[in-house]
């Protein structure tokens, strides 16, 4: 019973994990991206169509990354190069994503593909309790484990990672040190958006191997809130994503057991808990030791430098 629940937790948490990681890369460079929900949908549709046309799951995942990368470059262009309002641009991205995927996805509704299959890792998958949940999963889930590590390594052990963090914390100082603020921010937004797209592709390639209009159903917004819970750190994002995966898994379990509680009330739980978690993590944020990038949300204009 617990093993099944843990397995469902990881599977439900993975799309949120990818989206949260992507959002963290954005915000580390100082750019708020409220377009996560739209980017997930773009990734989900691109992933599904890529796999449908080519028959290859890898092509689907790459298509998802590229499509969201390109869509993310709109947000990057507006917020970085044109110094536009980050909140409005992100909301526009969400609307755009919802609309354009509904338009282009119309012909994809009802089609099916062979989604990701479980691949057991010999040895590790035999571990008691956690073995099945973490090491008898599909390739995208394994990739998410690797990505959590890679992002952490990138931020704290590479010069480029230092560059991204510094343009997010203090763009003027980073500029003085010779980091190109606009270049770092542009690529943080686009590459981060690409990973968000893979989160969307997880929905259409692994969770339910088909395309459904608006299939992200608010997961992008949960990811935006989880960035704050995670304190902009990728290992903590993993914890947060699985927390929400767990709530979703329990909700589905309750429904499957046929409780008398209305399904609509149960479906509220993830949103309700997100708000709760947001309140708690915001309070922790204020008690000092703030992880929030100092330059978050502020456009950078070299002429404003003091």
């Amino acid at each position: 019973m617990f093993e099944i629940l843990l397995d469902a937790t990881v599977r439900a948490g993975t799309p949120i994990l990818f989206a949260t990681l992507g959002a963290i890369i954005n915000e580390r460079a100082g750019i708020i991206n409220l377009g996560i929900e739209g980017l997930m949908l773009i990734g989900a549709l691109a992933g599904f169509s890529g796999t449908y046309w080519s028959g290859s799951l890898l092509v689907g995942v790459l298509a998802a990354f590229c499509a969201s990368f390109i869509a993310g470059s709109i947000h990057a262009l507006i917020t970085v190069q044109l110094r536009g309002n980050q909140i409005v641009s992100g909301l526009a991205m969400t609307m755009f994503g919802v609309g354009i995927t509904a338009l282009f996805g119309k012909g994809m509704v009802g089609l099916t593909i062979d989604g990701f299959k479980r691949v057991a890792i010999p040895g590790l998958s035999q571990l008691p309790i956690i073995g099945k949940a973490f090491f008898n999963q599909d390739m995208l889930i394994y990739f998410s484990f690797v990505l959590v590590f890679l992002i952490w390594f990138f931020f704290y052990h590479t010069l480029w990672g230092l560059g991204v963090r510094s343009v997010g914390e203090n763009p003027a100082a980073a500029d003085t040190c010779g980091f190109s603020v606009s270049r770092y921010r542009f690529f943080a937004v686009t590459i981060g958006s690409g990973f968000v797209g893979i989160g969307g592709a997880y929905l259409s390639l692994a969770s339910t191997p088909m395309w459904i209009e608006n299939m992200s159903a608010g997961r992008g917004w949960i990811a935006v809130a989880l960035v704050i819970f995670a304190g902009w750190s990728s290992p903590r994002a993993m914890l947060g994503a699985y927390l929400f995966g767990g709530i979703t898994a329990m909700q589905l379990r309750f429904q499957a057991m046929g409780t008398t509680i209305s399904a609509h009330i149960l479906q509220m739980l993830p949103y309700f808990f997100t708000i709760l978690v947001l309140v708690i993590s915001t309070q922790r944020l204020q008690k000092g030791a703030s992880q929030q990038p100092e330059g978050l949300g502020l456009p950078y204009d070299r002429e404003d430098r003091k």
């Binding site: 409220l34 739209g38 709109i74 262009l77 507006i78 044109l82 110094r83 536009g84 309002n85 909140i87 409005v88 641009s89 909301l91 526009a92 991205m93 969400t94 609307m95 755009f96 994503g97 919802v98 609309g99 354009i100 509904a102 338009l103 282009f104 119309k106 209009e213 608006n214 608010g218 917004w221 949960i222 935006v224 809130a225 704050i228 209305s262 609509h264 009330i265 479906q267 509220m268 949103y271 309700f272 997100t274 708000i275 947001l278 309140v279 915001t282 309070q283 204020q286 002429e303």
Partner: protein, 356 residues
């Protein structure tokens, strides 16, 4: 040859007005390619939108029907914008407002039309207000990000209304459809000219006027403007910014809640699934385009009403999904944001080399 970007010292009125219009034009142009890609001739589609939404009395009345909730929600969002507060939850506030009004209409047993209308109005007002007030409280007390809270509460509001209409409030005579019983005539707004147009439209215009006077002619309105432009200065001047944040979000949600009242009392006469096709999200564009002016909100709401009515007919004619309108709205916002850049900055092409 080199491109140089420099700040404009003054921005002429011509540029201020022409750039937003140009950006909508470019958005139309780009959206044309999206239409082409889905096999629809853009020119035919745009012609269809104009004819359908403005070409007949019926079309015009339908446009005003859609304009009505957009004015309410647009006013709500733009009031919060005034104070640099983001209310992305107008959609949910509309739903809980409709829920409050429906509760009064179905279960209060009031017999007098005017008493009923007043009670429904205030029920919607307070439900919407309290719904947004939660985000206002969290923001004022603990600085919790109001964008995320108001947005997530949309999902909760819609699920809550679903719970009611699939469960306790379901019409026993409704053949198991997810909707409540129809309202009696006491609980309906007046309708005109044999169309679906109802007096909610005039209520919306009246709200716009009241809100304009509130912002421009009262001390509270002045405080909102001051806090919006410089929160530190407002605090030094002794203004209670926390209280103001709560109050503004409450009022913002309350106005969006009234949209719900107008929809159930004027148009649908019952609470049902899919009450709003995303008016609360369109409201964000309206508030942004209207640049915080109440009159601007009315004008832009009308334009968006045209787009929604036209979008419905595109759906019927060419089976385009309703959500296509969102893609279009997203594009408009993108180009508007880009145009802001050209209002503030000037891009110059300088020939020859520059000595630095």
């Amino acid at each position: 040859m080199k491109l140089v970007i420099e700040r404009r010292e003054i921005t002429s009125a011509l540029i201020r007005f022409s750039t937003p219009i140009a950006s909508i034009g470019i958005a139309l142009f780009v959206a044309g390619f999206l239409l082409l890609a889905s096999g629809v001739s853009p020119l035919a589609a745009y012609k269809e939108i104009i004819i359908e939404a403005l070409g007949s009395i019926y079309g015009l009345s339908e446009t005003l029907v859609k304009t009505t909730p957009l004015i309410f929600t647009g006013l709500g969002v733009s009031l919060a914008f005034r104070m640099q507060i983001w209310n992305i939850g107008a959609e949910g506030q509309l739903y809980v407002g409709a829920m409050g009004a429906t509760w009064v209409a179905l279960f209060s047993g009031i017999q007098n039309h005017w008493v009923m209308m007043t009670a429904m109005f205030f029920a919607a007002f307070f439900c919407g207000g309290l719904w947004a007030g939660v985000a206002g409280f969290l923001r004022a007390r603990w600085r919790v990000n109001e964008v995320i809270v108001t947005l997530l509460m949309n999902y909760i509001a819609i699920l809550w209304v679903d719970y009611l209409i699939y469960g306790p409030w379901k019409d026993p005579k409704g053949f198991n459809f997810p909707l409540t019983a129809q309202f009696s005539d006491t609980a309906r707004l007046a309708e005109y000219f044999d169309t679906r147009m109802h007096s909610g439209f005039f209520l919306a215009l009246f709200c716009a006027l009241v809100l304009y006077l509130f912002i421009e002619r009262t001390v509270w309105g002045y405080e909102i403007k001051v806090i919006g432009s410089n929160q530190k200065a407002a605090q030094y001047a002794g203004m209670n910014t926390g209280m103001a944040i709560f109050f503004v979000l409450f009022l913002s949600g309350a106005i969006a809640g009234v949209a719900g009242f107008s929809e159930v009392a004027g148009l649908q006469h019952r609470l049902q699934h899919g009450l709003s096709p995303g008016y609360g999200y369109t409201a964000i564009i309206i508030a942004w385009l209207a640049k915080r002016s109440a009159i601007g909100v009315v004008i832009v709401s009308f334009l968006m009403g045209v787009l929604l009515v036209g979008g419905d007919s595109l759906q019927l004619l060419w089976q385009l999904p309703v959500a296509f309108v969102y893609a279009f709205q997203g594009l408009i916002l993108f180009f508007l944001l880009a145009s802001d850049f050209f209002i503030i900055y000037r891009v110059k092409l300088i020939r020859g080399s520059i000595n630095v």
